[in-house]
């Protein structure tokens, strides 16, 4: 069974045509991989489907805009994987 990170990385590689081996847990989706907001919608859609969740993108964006969170907390991939694991766990609770 692949890890959450592997699933995300595979989705990003396929959706955005980025070489899989260039995507690491430390990659920042925006700053390092150059994914823009429209492409991230495709990624969010694939993640939502793969994990049966609804990534709270609007909430995250608002928190970043309000200075309550940094983009690293949500868009560095190992952090994103952790958020997804939390959402999956909350769904099953």
């Amino acid at each position: 069974m692949s890890s959450t990170f592997d699933t995300i990385a595979n989705i990003i590689a396929e959706t955005c045509d980025i070489p899989r081996d260039s995507i690491t847990p430390e990659s920042h989706a925006i700053n390092d991989l150059g994914i823009d907001s429209l492409d991230f919608l495709d990624i969010a859609f694939a993640i939502d489907k793969a994990f049966g969740i609804k990534l709270p993108l609007e909430q995250w964006t608002q928190e970043v805009n309000d200075g309550k969170a940094t983009t690293e907390q949500y868009f560095v991939l190992n952090n994103l994987a952790a958020r997804i694991d939390e959402l999956v766990a909350a769904k099953g609770a």
């Binding site: 429209l38 919608l41 495709d42 969010a44 859609f45």
Partner: protein, 157 residues
């Protein structure tokens, strides 16, 4: 269809939030300056306007799902296929199914048929945002009334 106002949908035929589906009707006008250029001597409904008809239909579905509190804006079109020509005077049956209701976006599967035959289809991505101002919200309500938006669909959902 009021092409000069970019309002392609004449009426909402059916809307079910439970089924996450909408059907609309759009009659291509018999006369429009658009047909003088597309194409001279052989008038065809432009494919981009077929996409717009699917986008507006999808938009009504998403706006309804958000109970007129949020607006839908076309963000992406994927896999668009135009299977046959559409000519002046034809009545298009447009349908859209909400495939995914994401955070700040929605995905629809939309298609157009004429006399039961498929004309075109595409997967659309719409950004779902707060209305930028109160005027737009009011105008959307007015347009909804014009196209026969079934308010009971919101009550029964």
């Amino acid at each position: 269809m009021r092409l000069e106002y970019f309002q392609l949908i004449d009426r909402i035929v059916d809307l079910s939030l439970a089924d996450r589906k909408i059907s609309t009707e759009a009659t291509v006008p018999t006369d429009s300056t658009i047909f003088e250029g597309h194409f001279p001597g052989y008038p065809l409904m432009p494919g981009v306007l077929l996409i717009e008809a699917m986008a507006q239909t999808s938009g009504w579905l998403v706006v309804a799902a958000n109970r007129f509190e949020r607006m839908a804006f076309l963000a992406a079109v994927k896999g668009a296929k135009f299977r046959t020509f559409v000519t002046p005077g034809q009545v298009m049956a447009v349908t859209a199914q909400l495939a995914h209701d994401g955070s700040g976006y929605a995905i629809t599967e939309a298609n157009i048929a004429i006399d039961g035959k498929p004309v075109c289809d595409a997967t659309l991505t719409l950004r779902v945002l707060n209305f930028p101002n109160e005027e737009m919200k009011v105008k959307m309500r007015e347009t909804a009334a014009r196209v026969g938006f079934p308010s009971e669909a919101l009550v029964n959902a």
